[in-house]
């Protein structure tokens, strides 16, 4: 990795585990290349800490190419830092100036408890998906591909919604810690496709119920989620979910009374 000449001061949240109180710790990142990603800068800092026999900073990462959604970091007051449309692993140090002080915090939400330092527990998202973010299919021989016709506009819209990587930046950005953008992306993706029709009503009811039970806040349409989403998931999905929810409630009452 090319060595560079950027020197930065980091103020990073350190927290031992779920049950302890955390605090900010100051670190100095020296000789950072502007071509490094934000996570590579953390790698350099951590290697230095290890050689000094100090504890490295815990943070989540996996793919490092913007597709897994693991790299949750709230950087200088914004999820995934100052650039739009990217995850932390895609953020480069050239977006900062040498001498900058950078404050790095974990996602803050009752539904995302801190596991350690910058790593948070996002299994609440998994439980929302398990509540309804799936389709039922028959087992047996594989069907021919493309034998279900799909309207092109619907396919495109579903594809846009399916771009959501479940990173949780929408929750982190929202002043209400609302998970509406994430849940609406998942509801929309399946509601728009023929394969998703059978569970359509149960899906939205169950996923919203789970979302509420996990302790996420209520949406007030401020739109911070859309602005900060690395995959530019649109607020239109939230409106669609509100429609899906209303019609599911009506349909449910029709069947049960």
């Amino acid at each position: 990795m090319s060595h560079g000449n950027m020197n930065l001061t980091l103020k990073v949240w350190k927290q031992k585990n779920k049950d302890t109180k955390g605090r900010f710790e100051t670190y100095h990142a020296k000789g950072i290349s502007p071509d490094m990603s934000f996570l590579e800068m953390f790698d350099v800092v951590n290697e230095q800490l290890i050689t000094e026999n100090k504890e490295p900073i815990a943070f989540d990462h996996d793919c490092r190419e913007g597709i897994c959604g693991a790299c949750s970091m709230y950087i200088n007051g914004r999820p995934h830092g100052p650039k739009g449309g990217v995850t932390t692993c895609q953020l480069h140090m050239r977006s900062f100036k040498s001498g900058d002080t950078i404050v790095v915090e974990p996602w803050r939400s009752a539904a995302f408890p801190v596991i350690k330092d910058l790593a948070v527990d996002r299994s609440s998202f998994d439980r929302i998906i398990a509540a309804g973010g799936f389709v039922n299919v028959n087992t047996g021989n594989a069907k021919d591909a493309n034998n279900i016709l799909i309207n092109k506009d619907h396919a495109d819209e579903a594809f846009n919604a399916a771009a959501c990587i479940g990173c949780g930046a929408c929750v982190a950005a929202c002043k209400n810690s609302s998970a509406m953008l994430f849940v609406s992306a998942k509801v929309s993706q399946l509601a728009l496709l023929p394969q998703g029709q059978i569970e359509r009503e149960d899906r939205v009811l169950n996923m919203v119920k789970q979302m509420d039970e996990e302790g996420f806040g209520n949406c007030t349409n401020i739109g911070a989620c859309e602005a900060e989403c690395p995959k530019s998931i649109s607020l239109e999905n939230i409106a669609r979910m509100n429609r899906e929810y209303s019609s599911a409630i009506l349909a449910q009452n029709k069947l049960h009374h």
Binding site: K11, F24, Y74, N76, G77, R78, P82, V103, E105, R108, S109, A110, A111, A173, K175, N176, S177, S178, M180, E201, D202, L205, N206, V208, K209, M211, D212, G215, F216, G217, N218, C219, T220, N221, I222, G223, A224, A227, E228, L235, E236, I238, A239, R240, M241, N242, R243, Y245, S246, I249, Q252, L255, H256
Partner: protein, 222 residues
């Protein structure tokens, strides 16, 4: 199938918020129209007729009850939402760069609403209490227009009314378009139109309202 409570669900609350918000907007429109009758500048003659119609027509009186229920529901839901949303982030951030992703007034709807509520209490005391619970107006001693002139003699009252209209304007600047989104009414073609109408409404209506105490105070309308 799971039975879910509509009213207690996050989306149910949002939809009710949107409905009550739009209902309050429709009230503002009618209220503004009736009050603007003072601009005929005929010593309040037309305005007094309008006020009397609003005070005596049975349909309007029935709607008044609905209006109070609507305001109460809006405030109750707003409080519930605001408190729940606080709980959803027990540990806050040290640095928040909110202006990077949203407007300040969309983030401060609770505060703007509370300012409007404080204004509503003062405003109801000035006019509604006097016309309904005293015999000032019904006895013919005074007209609604006289009452208005009296209230707006005080420059502090005029200032409070004007500042409150600024709060209302910002509340509507976010609220108007937000209520459509809450109801799921988002459309490629119509949403930009709704947003434009919302901006015009949010500026124009409070501006007309704010001009009333000013013209009455300075005797431009008499």
């Amino acid at each position: 199938m799971t039975k879910s409570g509509f009213v207690t669900s996050s989306i149910g609350k949002k939809i009710l918020m949107g409905i009550t918000g739009l209902f309050l907007i429709s009230f503002l429109l009618i209220h503004c129209f009736i009050n603007a009758l003072i601009f005929f500048n005929d010593g309040g003659e037309t305005f007094n007729k309008g006020a009397e119609f609003m005070g005596t027509n049975w349909l309007i009186r029935a709607m008044e009850i609905v209006l109070f229920i609507g305001i109460f529901a809006h405030i109750f839901l707003a409080l519930k939402l605001t408190i729940d949303n606080r709980k959803a982030r027990p540990v806050g951030y040290m640095v928040v760069n909110g202006s990077a992703n949203s407007t300040w007034y969309s983030r401060w709807m609770g505060l703007l609403g509370t300012l409007i509520l404080m204004f509503l209490v003062i405003h109801l005391k000035h006019f509604w209490v006097v016309s309904r619970f005293t015999d000032e107006i019904t006895s013919g001693k005074e007209t609604m227009f006289d009452e208005m002139r009296e209230v707006f003699e005080n420059p502090i009252v005029v200032a409070v009314y004007c500042l409150s209209m600024v709060s209302l304007a910002y509340h509507l600047l976010h609220g108007f378009q937000s209520s459509f989104q809450s109801l799921g009414l988002n459309h490629k073609k119509y949403t930009p139109i709704i947003k434009s109408i919302g901006i015009i409404f949010a500026i124009l209506i409070p501006l007309i309202f704010a001009s009333m105490p000013i013209v009455m105070h300075f005797g431009i309308i008499k």
